[in-house]
Structures are given as structure tokens and as C-alpha cells.
């Protein structure tokens, strides 16, 4: 398969290519502008700060009780007839799912949208075992047809415009080229209906897993999530261990925050709460429901008081919608399952800092992400923390810590430290720079490819203040 591959190691090259593509620039700008406006409007009649405070608080409470809640979730799911499986990493989770499929002689898996399944590369794993895995969320379906990965966690095909999608449906499914979105949607509906009926297993993600009742909550608009979890005889839900919440009453605030933050909707079309497989007297629904709880680095993030906040995330995507960097370069540039600000604070834990070292720096720390985060994750602070880990001045709690520490850069910062802690030398340095301003280079690397070089002023503020004070009548020394 000619899969278009992106890797975080190539962030700079991928950014360069994305920035050079008017199509990508325009597609993202238009989409992100629209999403920002919709989010702002939909929160209009809410006390947003109180709601965010509650959302953060619910997630923190769940994390504070995480091991107990996971045990409670497991016990209640099992009591309800949902089989619970645990996986250390993506590979193990893939194997659990593959073995469940193989034991049931399943050849065809239909999938609802699940970012964890992307994180663990489930489709490739199943296909290598001869099991077809087909995405059913329209955006995921289009991206899969186009042999790509999602470029946004909520809107996987946001990088494609109508003409490009028409071309994909034409090339891959034979649909006549059209700009009519209803025709394209109807064609996908018809194509996927057959696959739902034929599927042996449905695989979905989980938005919230409720410990109190053993309930799996799925949020969606299309109905493919309901189809995936209702039509095939077996439903396998897969989720990160951090997705658990304590009580059913914790769900409404998080759901309210999720839909509004993600797409600016008051509510999604469907909120699907699954608490058991089909009962004896019932006529539809899967006869088996499985829940796969995946760690994949999360319990390591959990150890550190500061990094812990990463696990509050409810995967709304608002941070990417509001990120000026994501808006410019698009999701694929990051080369990770989770792009944008949340990806830059999560991916280093999943893939290590060596692989992802350009992601924590790919932010101007403008704070837009933290400002909109529905559960108040201090994303800019976490970006700084990961920069600190990268250069070996953190606590070493992230894989690959210290990978960016170079003698040259350390020397530069030590030099800065020396100068800034020796005020007389600092003043002389600034004064000398001012005197030599005519000799300063007009080209300063990449800065001057796009801007004129800043010129040191002839007289520093220190010197100006001295002159200014000399002009005034002497005052009593008051320091």
C-alpha cells in the first residue's frame, strides 16, 4: 500500500511542504476560523469558567482515584456481562483484539472512530493478520480510502476539500465526480451499509467509561458509532486507562464541554451509553461486548504531578482549532496520531523525546490552547516542561530526556547566565553593541529571510535613564 507517511522527526520538512501548499493553508484556515467562531457562539449563554472549573475538577477527581475506579469499572462491566481486558501497550492491545477476532473466525471488522486504535496502529495489525478493518466514520473512511491518516482528532479529513474528496470517491469507488455533498454522503452510506451487515466484529473507542455503572459512553453525529456497536455480533471497545470517570453524574458536564469545545455544537446527534451485551429477551445488539483498557505510557505520565495534567484531556480538539501553528501547518505535519498542542504534550510520552523533539518547541507559547481547553490543562506550561526535559534539566520522567542537550547550546545559555548575572558586564555589552550597531550584520539567519534585522540602539536604556536623571534636580536617594 502506498501510504503517505509522516514522522515527527521530519517536522521541519513537513512544515515547509505544508506551508508551501496553498490548498492546505486555505483548507485549514477556513475550517479553523469557522470552528473558533462556532465554539465562541455556542458557549454564549453559559458560565463557561464555572463549567471548565467543574470539568477540570471531575477529571482531576477521576485521576486521583484512578486505580480504584479502574477496578470498579472492571467489576461493574464484568457484572453487566462486558468482558474487560488489559494491555500494557499498543502492540498488546492489538494482539488482544486480533485474538478475539481469530477466536470467532472473524474476517471483517468495522470500526467506529477511535483515536486509541490509531495510536496503536490497529488497522495495519489486523490487516497483517488477514483481517479487514474498515473505518466507518465518513472522514475516517475517506482518509482510509486515500491511504492517509487523520489530520485532526475530531475531523479526520479536514485537510481535504470537496473536489479532492470527489476525486477520491471517484478513483476508489467509481462514483461519478460531483461537487454535491449529499450525493457523496449517500454513496458512502450505501457502500458502508453492506459492510456493516457483513462485519463480524465492531471496534469502537470510548469517550467516557463510567466506573459507577460499568457504562461506556460514545459521542457522535453520524450514527456509525451506534451501527458499529449494535449491528455486528461482537463489539470491542478500546480505550486509554485515563478515560474513566467516577459517576454517571460526572458525564453531563464533560459531554457539554466536549461537544461545544470540539465543533461548537450544543449537543451531538447521538449520545450512546452501553452497559451490557444483548440480553436474553432483546432482539438486537451485540451478543458479546469487550472492553480493552490500554496503558501505553499513561501510567508513566501518571507518576509525575505536573505531567499528570496531560491525562485530563477529553480529546475535543479545541486546542488545535485555536492553535496558530496547527492552523498554518495542518495535522499531518506533526507526524503523530495526536497533532497540535495536545499532541505536542502527549506524543513525547508515547514515542519518546528523541523522535518528537521538535514538537514541544513548535509553539510560540501564545496560550490560546490553554485558554480554550475545557478541562483547563496548562498546555503552555507542559510544553515548557517538555522543553526542560529535552535539554536534560527536568526530572527525567519522559523517555528520551536530555536528547537535545548539546554542548554548544548549553555553553550559549551559560554565557547568557553569566552576562545577565554580571550587571556591569551586561551594561558594557549593551553599550558596545550600540556603538558597533553600524557593523551589526543585516542578515541574521532565518530571521532576516522574512524580516529586517533589529538594530541595537545607539544609546541603551541604562544610559538614557542616566542622562534623564542628570537633567532633573537631585533627589534624595530613596532606594
Amino acid at each position: 500500500m502506498n501510504v503517505q507517511t509522516f514522522t515527527p522527526r521530519e517536522f521541519h520538512r513537513q512544515a515547509h511542504e505544508a506551508l508551501a501548499s496553498p490548498q492546505i493553508r486555505a483548507n485549514f484556515r477556513k475550517a479553523m476560523d469557522g470552528l473558533m467562531i462556532k465554539r465562541r457562539d455556542v458557549f454564549g449563554d453559559w458560565d463557561l469558567e464555572a463549567l471548565r472549573e467543574l470539568g477540570a475538577n471531575i477529571r482531576l477527581r477521576a485521576l486521583a482515584k484512578l486505580p480504584d475506579l479502574l477496578e470498579q469499572l472492571e467489576a461493574n462491566c464484568e457484572a453487566n456481562g462486558i468482558r474487560v481486558h488489559w494491555a500494557e501497550d499498543g502492540e498488546q492491545a492489538c494482539r488482544v483484539i486480533r485474538e478475539l477476532c481469530e477466536a470467532r473466525n472473524a474476517r471483517s471488522v468495522i470500526k467506529g472512530k477511535s483515536m486509541v486504535s490509531e495510536e496503536m496502529h490497529l488497522n495495519a495489525h489486523l490487516e497483517a493478520a488477514g483481517i479487514e478493518a474498515l473505518e466507518s466514520d465518513l472522514g475516517e473512511y475517506l482518509v482510509q480510502l486515500n491511504e492517509q491518516t487523520p489530520s485532526h482528532i475530531i475531523m479526520p479529513a479536514i485537510h481535504l476539500n470537496t473536489d479532492e474528496i470527489s476525486g477520491i470517491l471517484h478513483d476508489k469507488t467509481g462514483l461519478e465526480r460531483t461537487r454535491d455533498v449529499d450525493i457523496m454522503t449517500a454513496a458512502a452510506r450505501a457502500q458502508l451499509r453492506e459492510r456493516f451487515m457483513a462485519a463480524d466484529v465492531g471496534v469502537s473507542g470510548v469517550n467516557f467509561a463510567v466506573a459507577e455503572t460499568g457504562t461506556l459512553c460514545l459521542v457522535e453525529n453520524e450514527g456509525n458509532g451506534r451501527m458499529t456497536t449494535t449491528v455486528p455480533p461482537v463489539h470491542i471497545a478500546v480505550t486509554g486507562i485515563e478515560k474513566v470517570v467516577e459517576q454517571l453524574r460526572d458525564v453531563p458536564p464533560l459531554y457539554a464541554l466536549l461537544t461545544r469545545s470540539a465543533t461548537g455544537q450544543h449537543v451531538t446527534t447521538y449520545f450512546n451509553m452501553i452497559s451490557s451485551p444483548r440480553q436474553e429477551e432483546e432482539h438486537d445488539g451485540p451478543k458479546e461486548v469487550h472492553l480493552v483498557l490500554v496503558d501505553n505510557g499513561r501510567s508513566r505520565i501518571y507518576q509525575d504531578n505536573e505531567l499528570l495534567d496531560t491525562l485530563r484531556c477529553i480529546r475535543c480538539g479545541a486546542c488545535m482549532n485555536h492553535c496558530p501553528v496547527y492552523t498554518r501547518v495542518g495535522g499531518h505535519t506533526y507526524g503523530t496520531t495526536y497533532p497540535g498542542p495536545i499532541g505536542s504534550i502527549l506524543s513525547p510520552h508515547l514515542m519518546g523525546l528523541e523522535e518528537t523533539q521538535d514538537l514541544p518547541t513548535a509553539s510560540s507559547l501564545c496560550g490560546a490552547c490553554g485558554e480554550v481547553c475545557p478541562v483547563k490543562i496548562p498546555i503552555p506550561d507542559l510544553l515548557v516542561r517538555l522543553r526542560k526535559e529535552s535539554v536534560g534539566e527536568g526530572r527525567g520522567n519522559v523517555p528520551g530526556a536530555g536528547v537535545k542537550r548539546t554542548r554548544k547550546e548549553v555553553a550559549a545559555w551559560k554565557g547568557f547566565q553569566w552576562l545577565a548575572t554580571h550587571p556591569a558586564a551586561w551594561r558594557s555589552g549593551v553599550a558596545v553593541a550600540g556603538k558597533l550597531r553600524a557593523l551589526m550584520p543585516t542578515r541574521l539567519g532565518p530571521w532576516t529571510d522574512y524580516r529586517t534585522a533589529p538594530r541595537p540602539a545607539g544609546t541603551s536604556l541604562h544610559a538614557l535613564v542616566k542622562q534623564h536623571q542628570a537633567k532633573k534636580p537631585a533627589r534624595e536617594e530613596s532606594q
Partner: protein, 222 residues
């Protein structure tokens, strides 16, 4: 040690020590204080804003409204239950008419393709609705299985006007959901939709293209 125990052990023996769980104040998701009229108005406004349709009818005459919807939408095959009073009344009113009534309370394995390909509409009751978001809540039953509200192009849901409550939080609390969740609990807020093709809304991508809510009023004034 099992994978499960290893994960739980790491979480329990947290390096930075045990965490303190904060208390939660849920005031922001409850106590709306809307009147019955405000609730109904808000429910209708929000549901119709996402392409849902609302038809008002009296408690006694609602099946006439249902028959009209079926004629207007050109429905010839309708699936519905047999036991719920909504299904019983609908059957009484529609039997012998133009619309073929298809029993929904059958194992799906016996009629999956028929349901997917030949049934044009599904009729269900609802447990209630949520004013804040324009949502219906349904707990599918053996009589009204899950796919009746999902696979058909048109979903007709019957709602009693007095069953509209303020918020999801209120519904969960007042009806004691936590003490007994059904196999599947659903909120439905409009027809199936997608914006995955360049942010353009399209309806009926997987589920129903149309949702009609028949709101039954106890008063005769409607």
C-alpha cells in the same frame, strides 16, 4: 504478575504520592428554573435548529397526526413495536390502511436485510426529553429494539409534552439512572449528520435522514 495487576500496581505506587480528590460543585449544569412553556419552546428551537421536525398533537388525536406525517413523507413500510401503548395505539389507528406495519420485536438475524433495505420509517416511544439541548432520551426495549431508531431513513418519536426536563444532569439524577442502566441508553438530538466533507452539513450519513418528534399534549387546545 498479570498485566492488569502490573498496571494497577504502578498507579497505586505513584512516585509523587497519593492524590487528593477535589469536591465537585454541579450547580452550573442544573437548576435552570425554566417553566413548562420555556422548556418546550427551548426543546423545539434547539431540535429544529439541527434539522429535527416537531409536530404537536393532542394526547387523544396524535395518531391522526402520525398518519399525516406518514402520508406527507410517503412512507409505505413502518416498523414499530407491539406492546408499548404508543405502538398499540398506532397499530389500532393504522391497521388496514395504506401503510404496511412491520413488527420490530424480532431477532435482527431473521430480518436484517429487510430492515436495512425495505423499511422506510421506524416509530418509537421516548422516555422523555431535554430542553437545554433539544434531545430525546430513549431506552430501547425488546419491544422497540435499538435499530428501529437507527437504520431507517425516517425516525418518528413520540414524546409527551410534560416529559421534557431541563438538563441531562437533571434527567440522570431524577430518574436514578445510576441505580439501573439499561443495555443501551440513548440521547438523540436530530437526524444523523456529518460535516466531514469540507464542513458542509449533510444528513442521513448512517442513521435516519429525518427525525420527526410527535409531541403529545394532554390539553385539547392544540
Amino acid at each position: 504478575m498479570s498485566v492488569r495487576d502490573a498496571i494497577l500496581k504502578r498507579l497505586r505506587e505513584r512516585a509523587d504520592g497519593a492524590l487528593v480528590a477535589p469536591e465537585s460543585d454541579f450547580a452550573v449544569v442544573t437548576n435552570r428554573g425554566w417553566s413548562r412553556g420555556e422548556r418546550l419552546e427551548r426543546f423545539e428551537r434547539l431540535l429544529t435548529s439541527v434539522h429535527g421536525e416537531v409536530v404537536h398533537a393532542s394526547r387523544d388525536g396524535w395518531t391522526t397526526a402520525l398518519a399525516k406525517v406518514l402520508v406527507d413523507k410517503g412512507v409505505r413500510r413502518l416498523t414499530l413495536g407491539r406492546k408499548h401503548p404508543v405502538a398499540v395505539e398506532a397499530r389500532e389507528a393504522l391497521v388496514g390502511g395504506e401503510v404496511e406495519l412491520v413488527d420490530a420485536d424480532r431477532d435482527i438475524e431473521t430480518w436484517q436485510r429487510e430492515l436495512f433495505e425495505t423499511v422506510e420509517a421506524g416509530l418509537t416511544s421516548t422516555r422523555g426529553a431535554i430542553a437545554e439541548t433539544g434531545s430525546l432520551w430513549l431506552w430501547p426495549t425488546p419491544d422497540e429494539p435499538r435499530l428501529v431508531s437507527l437504520v431507517v431513513p425516517l425516525h418518528i418519536a413520540v414524546l409527551d409534552a410534560e416529559a421534557v426536563e431541563d438538563t441531562l444532569f437533571d434527567v440522570i439524577e431524577r430518574h436514578g439512572w445510576a441505580t439501573g442502566m439499561p443495555t443501551n441508553a440513548l440521547l438523540i438530538s436530530g437526524p444523523s449528520k456529518t460535516a466531514d466533507i469540507e464542513q458542509t452539513l449533510a444528513y442521513g450519513v448512517h442513521g435516519p435522514r429525518e427525525l420527526v418528534v410527535l409531541v403529545r399534549h394532554a390539553e385539547e387546545t392544540i
